[in-house]
């Protein structure tokens, strides 16, 4: 028997604008993600990949449909409940790392945990140091993002995504801004985390080489899933 999915969306739609300027970006998405699954979300520019990830990440509400994760109805949840849920169960990796420039690598990794608790703690610092060690940046913990290479910044971003031990990490073109070697290092890291921690990953990409490293591929075209 297959495991209960951690994420389930049904007939999800997203409409931007009103009247004649209305644009339907997602047109009835059905999708489930199982625990420990690693899936690539493929599709050309404008197919709705980023919008879907943004909705799944509770950063934006869908216009209609069902959106449940870990048994929580995220369509009905309040903004505060969605923020708390995001903090507790979801991790993010963006294309442009989005590290805070004034914080060190260690402080950046700690930030989501400190934001969730409203304060720092020694345990958070130790966990952040362990994660930086796991992504091969133990000797860069006191460096600010400006002093790191693109690949190193993205590895810090992966460590940051894991600090709250999320069940699902949503990665929007995580290697889109990296050269092939750095991209492969980041993907190797993601695969290793997926296998050792059983963290699920949904990775949006338009790079077949990256998608080929994921056991499952989900193809999106014009706001609809055409292959899953």
């Amino acid at each position: 028997m297959s495991a209960e999915p951690i994420l389930s969306v049904r007939d999800l739609t997203k409409v931007f604008g009103e009247g004649e300027a209305q644009a339907k970006v997602l047109k009835g998405i059905d999708l489930t993600i199982a625990p420990g699954e690693m899936a690539a979300l493929l599709g050309p520019s404008g197919s709705g990949k980023s919008t879907l990830l943004t909705i799944l990440g509770t950063l934006m509400r869908a216009s209609s449909g069902r959106h449940e994760m870990l048994g929580v109805d995220l369509m009905q949840a309040s903004d505060a409940e969605r923020t708390a849920f995001r903090s507790r169960h979801l991790g993010f990796v963006f294309q442009f790392h989005h590290l805070l420039p004034d914080l060190t690598a260690l402080e950046n990794v700690m930030m989501p945990a400190a934001a969730a608790a409203g304060r720092e703690s020694r345990a958070m610092r130790e966990r952040a140091a362990e994660l930086l060690d796991a992504v091969g940046l133990a000797d860069r913990r006191d460096y600010r993002p400006g002093a790191l290479s693109g690949g190193q910044r993205q590895r810090v971003a992966v460590a940051r995504a894991l600090i709250n031990q999320p069940v699902l990490v949503l990665a929007d073109e995580p290697t889109g801004n990296l050269d092939r070697q750095a991209a492969d290092q980041v993907m190797q890291l993601i695969r290793s985390i997926n296998q050792t921690l059983a963290t699920s990953f949904l990775i949006s990409t338009h790079d077949e080489h990256i998608a080929g490293q994921c056991p499952r591929r989900i193809e999106l075209l014009d706001g609809r899933i055409v292959r899953s």
């Binding site: 943004t54 990440g57 950063l59 934006m60 903004d79 505060a80 923020t83 708390a84 995001r86 903090s87 507790r88 993010f92 963006f94 989005h98 805070l100 420039p101 930030m111 989501p112 934001a115 969730a116 409203g118 940051r160 709250n164």
Partner: protein, 170 residues
């Protein structure tokens, strides 16, 4: 317990009752001088009120500028799970600290400027009747800090309303 001194009119009335002499309060005999002193005191209050308004406007505009400049960072924090309440707390705390540090530095500078001036009781005619004893430094620091905290609330609430998706995109 120290009682407040009676008013000049009350003093004059009491003397009149007890001695039967014709008495007038000094504030009536020197009404122009009294009005001048009164106007000076009112001007001082107005200057202090404007100083507080300047602090409120200055802190609020500095905070708004800081929030616009750090919009992407606030968006990242919100995306990473920072609650609106946390964002408000961070910016109110920041504004309060700016106000407190500014007030302490300002009070210190004022104290140093007043250092060479003699006490008011020893000021000769034509001298400047101000000294450190009239400074109310602690009250000034407390009021400035309070004004800065209040001035930070609206900008902080605006920061908390930043949409993480738009902010990260910017």
């Amino acid at each position: 317990m120290q009682l407040p001194p009676p008013s000049p009119r009350a003093c004059a009335a009491r003397l009149r009752r007890s001695t039967g002499l014709k008495t007038t309060a000094w504030t009536e005999d020197n009404s122009q001088l009294f009005e001048g002193l009164d106007a000076q005191a009112r001007t001082g209050t107005i200057i202090k009120a404007f100083a507080l308004i300047t602090i409120v406007v200055g802190i609020a505009s500095a905070m708004l500028l800081s929030i616009v400049r750090r919009q992407a960072e606030i968006g990242i924090m919100r995306a990473m799970g920072a609650s609106k309440r946390l964002v408000v707390s961070i910016f109110v705390l920041e504004g309060t600290l700016i106000g407190f540090i500014g007030a302490v530095v300002g009070a210190l500078v004022a104290w140093l400027v007043l250092l060479p001036l003699p006490p008011v009781s020893e000021v000769e005619s034509g001298g400047l009747p101000i000294d450190q004893a009239q400074g109310d430094f602690l009250l000034a620091i407390a009021l400035t800090t309070l004004a800065a905290a209040l001035a930070s609330i609206l900008p902080a609430r605006r920061a908390a309303r930043i949409d993480p998706v738009e902010a990260i995109g910017s």
